[in-house]
Every structure is written in structure tokens, then in C-alpha cells.
Assembly symmetry: C2
Homo-oligomer: 296 residues x 2
Amino acid sequence: MDEAAFIAALRALAPDPAARGLDDDVAVIALGGEHLVLTHDMMVEGVHWLPAQDPADVAWKLVATNLSDLAAKGAAPLGVLLGYGLGGGEERFLAGLAQALAAFDVPLLGGDTVRRAGPAAHGLTALGRATHCPVPTRGGARPGDALWVTGTLGDAMLGFEALREGHAGKAGARDTTRFTRPVPRLAEGRALAPLVGAMMDVSDGLLLDATRMARASGVTLAIDSAACPLPPDLPVARRREALAWGDDYELLFTLPAGTLPPCPATRIGVVQPAGPVPLLLDGACPQGRLGYQHGE
Amino acid sequence: MDEAAFIAALRALAPDPAARGLDDDVAVIALGGEHLVLTHDMMVEGVHWLPAQDPADVAWKLVATNLSDLAAKGAAPLGVLLGYGLGGGEERFLAGLAQALAAFDVPLLGGDTVRRAGPAAHGLTALGRATHCPVPTRGGARPGDALWVTGTLGDAMLGFEALREGHAGKAGARDTTRFTRPVPRLAEGRALAPLVGAMMDVSDGLLLDATRMARASGVTLAIDSAACPLPPDLPVARRREALAWGDDYELLFTLPAGTLPPCPATRIGVVQPAGPVPLLLDGACPQGRLGYQHGE
């Protein structure tokens, strides 16, 4: 059974419409006048990180990527639970975990440790409290809205390449921390939540994530590649590639025309009525790879 | 770094006193007038299940063991999040997952799937709402209380042995479902929560779990082995072994003397003031193995 079929079958087991949490979103449940936001991500050695990478960075990223899902809901983190596969690197993992928990001011609530054989695999569950209702979804983009993104895209790709090629830490080398130590946009997510139409984080590539937002919203998103905030030293020939690279953990969101975001962000496109394709890049349907597809 | 040292270091990262959730308990956090109960368990092929076991049973047990942690807090399940390592057996896993979710009336809220190499490893987070405050802990046993346990102990051990030896399903063979398909004591836990001093589930062996309860409560627990509800066909020579075998998922709890439990249960001992050892079995400190120790 391939991954897409498995996920579809899992979704069929989750009849609650809030249960959009399989692989690409988070779950939202109402409790005691609050809205809880829940997400769980796993990371596997060789898939989500290079075997040579510092386990401290792995721990940081495990926390950061889950908190990025909360950020996209405007949620304030309440805590995390860790599932850890023992098998080496524990001291460094602990160091990175402590740094991430302190940096994002989130408590470790509990979890489990298990012995493992084979590649390392860890899971993390993050729990948050929504700060604004309705909780933003990727389905709220409306024709006429503008499409925005926080920060920059493509730095994680360049950081990964520098790391893979062993340039990290060398004189004049590129900063790899956008790949190794992403920072979830928690404050931005909370500031944006009351204002946005749709919101999600960019974890699998702008073009793929924008396609998902367009499909969920029943619209077409038209992106202007020249407007996209890419690294200034990125060769022009690689701009398209950067738009399909993940791990940026920026927030992609829509605002009504004329509304300015309350945090630094770049306007990269507009929301149009649903056309023949969900996504237009510079006026045409983008060809080729859009981003990281689970099951690729 | 060994597992015990790693867990101790993780606990040091979790300054919240509610964060007892690492390996042997669940986390409780207050939110919006409710108390949330959270637990996360991982299961690994070859450690938590036999490679030849039906993945449907693995899925069932992953749900059941997490819900057993909620049961021990008197919590009503709100949902689960699944972390699934793809690599085979998905159809059967889905079948067992669907059965467990339906049997325990708990929704799948979300999760993540990852590709894996090596032995299968899956994680599950269960979220519940406490039905009684204060939420029971393992630290509430008081001298003079009686010690009780629901159901029977040792059937999971015998079921595991029948399964390992290939007897399952044969004519006259022992029922293996107490090992493969444990049923969390959710209704019992809710009924008991307002009455108990201390409560926990028996997952790692009665003697070990009782020792943990005694230490957390600052008391000595005195257990009468002849009173323990063991399978009638268990050889007398194996009674001590059964008291140190895990996977029973019964509830161990204390009640004030004279209070009877609102559900079927067996009185197996008394709570004494703290003596030189936390646990007495038939009046003496038990020698040898007490149960499944993480890191063994």
C-alpha cells in the first residue's frame, strides 16, 4: 500500500471534519471554551536529516517544525510530548532539545523512550491553545485577497547544500542555520490570525503548499515569481527550484485587498476565482516539481 | 548514555511538576476550566511485539496501551494522533486501528506518516479530559488504605507464551487476546477516580508498578500473593513470575478501609507507613525481578 493510499484510508477513519491532521495539517478540538490545536510529526534519519548531522539540530528541528504548525493556527504552545528512539547521540539531542524548549518557551510535558534498531526515528506531539477564533485554516482564501509570505524562501535549500557539501563552519561559508535551526513564526502567526483569510506554513515548498491552499479554498492562486522573497545571491536559474524546496517554515497567508500585515511580509500574488488549475506562476500553470510530496 | 540517565535528563528539562509523563505516567495540564490528560507511547517491532504478529493487533495495542494511561487518570478520551512508520502491513494495521477506535469510541485526530528503514516503529499520542478533580496520581496512597486491582493478572503472560510457541488458534489453545488485544479499563477508571487515593495501570508488572506507587506516595505497600487474582490454571510455581510480568493493563488503586470499589476488583494488600523497603510481598522484601524495567 503506498503512502498516499494509506493516508487516504487513515483520513477515512477520522470522520471529524476537524481531523485534517494527517501529514499536512493540524487538528483543532473545542474544550472548555478553548480551542486546542494538536500536531504530531515524526522525523527519520536519512529521510529528514543527514546521518552526519548534529543530533542537537535534529532535536531543535523536531520541536521547531511542530511549533510551526501551531504558528500557522495562531496558537500559543502549551507543551510538547517526545517519542524518542534510543540508540546514540542522546547527549547532543538533549542539548538541542533544551535550547529549543527555552528559545520557544514551551514545556516538555512527557513522552516515551524506546530502544531501537536501525535508523533513528523520533516523534513529537505539540499542543497549543488557539488565540483567535475561528482558527485559521488553509481553506479561507477568497478571490480578490492578496497572497503574502513572511521572511524569505530558499535559504533552507542553500543551507542544506552547504551542509551536505561540508562547507558549514568554514570561513566565508553560507549560514546553514535556516536549514538546521528553523524558527517557527509563532509571534507572527498570533498577530496574523485575526486578520487572515487562509494561513499555513511553507514546509514542503511554496508551489506545493500554495496548491494545497488553493485546492482547500476552491480558488486559484496566482503567484508572481519576481515578487517572491528569495536570497539575493541565488542564481536566477535556480529561482524556480527554490520555490519548490521545503523546510522554510515561513507563513503563507491571504489578506483582504488593502489590508497590510502586522508583521514583516512580502506580497507575492493574488487570489483569483477557481480556474482550470489551482496555481498560476507568472500567469501559467507551473510545470515540473512543485515541492516535497509525501511518498515521493 | 543509558536509558535511565536519558530519562532523568529529560525530566530535568520538564520543570513543571505535572510533567511526570516520561515513560511511566501521563501529563495533566489545566485549560479553560478543564484538565487535559496527555500520554505518548511508542512501540517498536521486536521490542514491543513479535515480528510475526498481526499488524492489526499492533495497532489495537498501540491505542489500548495509551488509553489505559488515560483510564488510570479517570479521563475520557478526546482523540489520538498517530505517528506511523511506513514499510509494510499497512492494510492490517488499518483494520486493527479501525477496530480499536470503534471499540473505544475515540476519534483519530491526525498524525504523521514517514518512510522507514529497519524495524517498524510507531507512536501514538492520546488526549483525554479528566472527569474528576483532583486527577488521581500514583502518589495518593495513605497508610491504612486497602490496595486493590481490577480484573486478573498473568493472562497476558500466558497469552504471549501461547503466541510465541505457535499455539494460537489451535484447538484447545489458550486465548491469546489478553496479550494481543488488551482492553483499557476506561469505565472503571472513571468510576474509581472520585474514590481512590492512588491509581495507576499495571503495564510493567504488578510488583514493579506497586513499588513505583509506594515510592511516589511515600508509603510501603504490603501485598498478599495468595489474594492476587491469577489465572486458575497457572502453576503455583509460576505465581511469583506472573506478578512481575507486564501487559495486563489492569488498574491498581487504593481505597480507604471500608470503602468498596464501584466495579469488580480484588483486594490484594494494604498500605503501611513507609518502612525500610517500599514493597512487601507476603511480609518480606521481594527478591529478584519485579517487572519490565525500561533499559533492561
